[in-house]
């Protein structure tokens, strides 16, 4: 089979993925999607994508659009556009996790600035405000009181993008200064790490300086993580969870998982596991 790894910014992960693919004897091509255009009203894409595509674009919308185009041409993509749509939008993820009975932080959504203050009062301070689309902890704000919230809202209202004028509010979960990143590949947890917040930072993203420590997940966590991965549609995923006083809470599932931080603490060759899964998953 021939595998393509599509990307728009070549990270450590993509270089490692192609090295592992080559070691496994899988014909693989790295494709920079910034160079591509498509006749989306035509019947097929050029035959350059091979049998299966591992989608690794760093831009959410670019990734989603490309996956939809490729799927429309009958090309298999890991992860699917459905998974991408679910995981790329925190509103959709939260609703799906809750509906499936997976413990997740209490989350309110306001559809305009007029209802944000009331929503936050109802949720109870402190509240965490997150962008609907985004990653790496970017633009995630902690409002300890109504005054802080009003300042954040005022700032967001000054932005042009209409999605900034709707609000995703989440309860602030009391937890140790760390969260959990579990990398799930084809229904198997291949790595589990604590992400320890760095310095004065309260967010636990590796992109924000968090360090990682490997650990063995207990039965409860394994079940929750695997169920969360299954609920969003499966594939190659990064499931993020927190340790609350009432047990684990899954707060996010990542569709184009970065694993440099997890790999630093883990002995499993994560990239190899991903490539093996992609090869296995090829539809015959």
């Amino acid at each position: 089979m021939k595998l393509s790894i599509t990307f728009d910014r070549l990270r450590w992960e993509e270089k490692w993925l192609i090295q592992e693919a080559e070691k496994l004897g899988c014909a693989t091509e790295l494709i920079d999607v910034k160079n591509l255009f498509f006749d989306v009203t035509g019947n097929s894409a050029k035959n350059e994508f091979g049998d299966v595509v591992l989608q690794r674009c760093i831009s959410y919308y670019r990734s989603l659009f490309l996956t939809k185009i490729l799927e429309n041409f009958g090309i298999q993509v890991v992860n699917t556009s459905k998974v991408s749509e679910t995981c790329g939008n925190k509103l959709v993820t939260s609703m799906l996790l809750a509906k499936a009975g997976i413990p997740t932080p209490k989350t309110y959504v306001s559809l305009s600035s007029e209802s944000v203050a009331e929503a936050a009062d109802s949720l109870g301070y402190p509240v965490v405000m997150k962008p609907f689309v985004g990653s790496w902890g970017r633009m995630i704000s902690l409002a300890n009181d109504a005054q802080t919230l009003a300042t954040i809202v005022e700032l967001k209202e000054s932005l042009q993008n209409p999605i900034e004028h709707m609000y995703y509010l989440q309860e602030f979960v009391k937890r140790p200064p760390r969260d959990i990143r579990a990398i799930v590949v084809g229904g198997e947890i291949v790595a589990s790490v604590y992400r320890n917040a760095g310095g004065t930072e309260w967010r636990t993203n590796v992109a924000r300086g968090a360090t990682t420590t490997a650990f063995k997940p207990d039965k409860e966590l394994r079940e929750i993580v695997l169920k969360a991965a299954e609920v969003v549609g499966g594939g190659v995923l990064g499931v993020d969870a927190m340790e609350s006083k009432d047990g684990y809470l899954v707060h996010e599932v990542n569709n184009t998982v970065e694993f440099k931080g997890a790999q630093a603490a883990s002995t499993t060759r994560i990239a190899k596991k991903i490539i093996e899964y992609v090869i296995r998953s090829e539809k015959r």
Partner: protein, 59 residues
Amino acid sequence: MTITAKCEECGAGIAIPNDAIVSEIVECKECSSEFEVASIVQGRVELKKAEVAEEDWGE
């Protein structure tokens, strides 16, 4: 032998890793500008400006 390319922002030399491949991101140590390797031909490296992070970037 280490390949060096010139930063088009500040003119400093950017050391290109020996195992660099096309599309890889390199950073100028002097001014922190990011560039993408556009081509590597016979030990000569061409760089282009890397895209700047957008709000939808991430994992």
